[in-house]
């Protein structure tokens, strides 16, 4: 099973090629340079594996939440590649990928994933590892002020993502003693997007290219004006 994943929802930009359980990734911390970097990464990974897009079984991408433009770049690239090679797509939550990264790096089995959403809010999700070592949602992804995020029931949590850098203190106070560690410097990565998408693609449960769409969570982006002459 071969699949390619792209993740550009935050300051980080990455691409991963997953071939029969083995994953290669290119990762760069490169704010505002995703358009420039992402397709060269794709091409470099495929060339190294002597593959072309048509030989893949599917495309995965970080569907958000994250920066609006960043999430659309990932969705756009996924759409173009998938439409062009007639492949199914697996959209993966960036918060889920972030949590999966914390499990990979620290063995954290219950993770509070938070991304700085600006304007006094964070993107927030609580994840726990399942029997197949995949992160699954325990509190579904949402956007909220740090002092109002939904608190998961019980457990022993690890906090990860830029939301812990921007609002770590508020979050720690809100969750209380149930947080055993936190890191603000982790970003979602394509290798985790790929891992989380693998079962979906293998099971033939991917969606058509036109359904490779972002999930923004923040939906109020403009104020209607009173109809004045």
């Amino acid at each position: 099973m071969k699949l390619l994943a792209v993740e550009t929802a935050t300051e980080a930009c990455s691409c991963a090629l997953f071939v029969d359980g083995v994953c290669e990734q290119i990762y760069d911390l490169a704010p505002r340079r995703h358009a420039e970097l992402i397709l060269p990464m794709v091409s470099q990974l495929l060339a190294a594996a002597e593959l072309v897009v048509q030989q893949l079984d599917g495309i995965a991408f970080g569907r958000g939440p994250g920066t609006f433009t960043g999430v659309r770049i990932a969705a756009g690239v996924a759409q173009g590649l998938a439409f062009g090679a007639d492949l199914p797509v697996a959209p993966i939550s960036t918060l889920q990928a972030l949590a999966q990264g914390a499990y990979r790096a620290h063995g954290a089995v219950q993770v509070l994933a938070a991304l700085d959403a600006r304007m006094g809010e964070i993107y927030w999700g609580a994840y726990g590892v399942d029997e197949r070592q995949r992160m699954t949602a325990m509190v579904s992804d949402c956007i909220a002020a740090a002092d109002q995020v939904p608190v998961p029931e019980d457990g022993w949590w690890f906090g990860t993502g830029s939301g812990w850098a921007s609002d770590g203190r508020t979050l720690s106070e809100r969750i209380g003693k149930a947080v055993w560690g936190q890191e603000g410097q982790r970003f979602p990565q394509a290798q985790d997007v790929a891992l989380l998408a693998a079962d979906t693609i293998a099971a033939g449960e991917g969606v058509p290219a036109e359904q490779a769409l972002p999930i923004y969570l923040r939906n109020r982006v403009a104020n209607e004006r009173a109809n004045r002459p």
């Binding site: 659309r72 770049i73 969705a75 173009g80 439409f83 062009g84 982006v221 104020n223 004006r225």
Partner: protein, 337 residues
Amino acid sequence: MRVLGIETSCDETGVAIYDSQQGLLAHVVSSQAAIHAPYGGVVPELASRDHVRKLLPLLRRVMTQANTDRSNVDGVAYTAGPGLIGALLVGAAVGRSLAYAWNVPGVGIHHIEAHLLAPMLEPEPPCFPFLALLVSGGHTQLIAVEQFGHYRILGESLDDAAGEAFDKTASLLGLPYPGGPLLAKLAESGDPNRFNFPRPMTDRPGLDLSFSGLKTHALYTLQRHGQDPTTKADIARAFEEAVVATLVIKCDRALKETGLQRLIVAGGVGANRRLRNGISKLALRRRVRAYYPRIEFCTDNGAMIAYAGYRRLQAHANDPLAFFAKPRWSLSAIEPS
């Protein structure tokens, strides 16, 4: 050569397929006017969100209509600027990735160059060189087009673009966004002799333009003479007459200065009937020939992008995989090809 064209620079999603032997095979445009109307103008983030939802369904439709599959597309062209950065990036991301997957060249197109080439899609296209009057929502320019890829800006609006002036004045008259075409409709019942609006910057030499004063003039007239429907129609008429007369005077000057024998009108306001009449009369008087795109290709569309792409790809253009979008991009800065 068969080229796919993608336009997402502002509030229209356009997709088309152009074939160098058979001409335009299919094109579709999806307008976002209804999405932005409640806000009185284009909301960039909403524009981007709609493009990423609509683009592939439109693409699939166009490919079916053109009876084309990936094996007979030779290149993908997408608008790379100028325009709204987020909106442009949707077209560039999808377009460049699609070209990569198809293993054909991909090329980012200058939106204004594409507008200037739109008359080439008509049965009797103009030859180079020609004078171009570009009148859109974001740009108003007089351009000497020496040959494909060689553009010299002779004059431009120092403030509002012509389309912008139409839309803002329409809004003053209580018309919903985008009001340009509605203002033109209202003007039909207006009395041309009741108000006389100034012809900005025609009393001094040069080819630059200015339209923001006309909007202010419309506002004062409205305040002085009241809001009744007849007055509004009369103001619409006077405003339209003034814009058209000003553009005609500047075109006349530009033809005289350059000695060019052909004149093309491009961009959204090029759909305006009174402007077309004014330009055609000028052409008769000056014994030059005027060319227009069909009405639907005056405003943003994928067909002009596909055609511009064809011209660039024919000159062996192929952009790197590092795709880009340039919100500001001067026509005089583009590569001659």
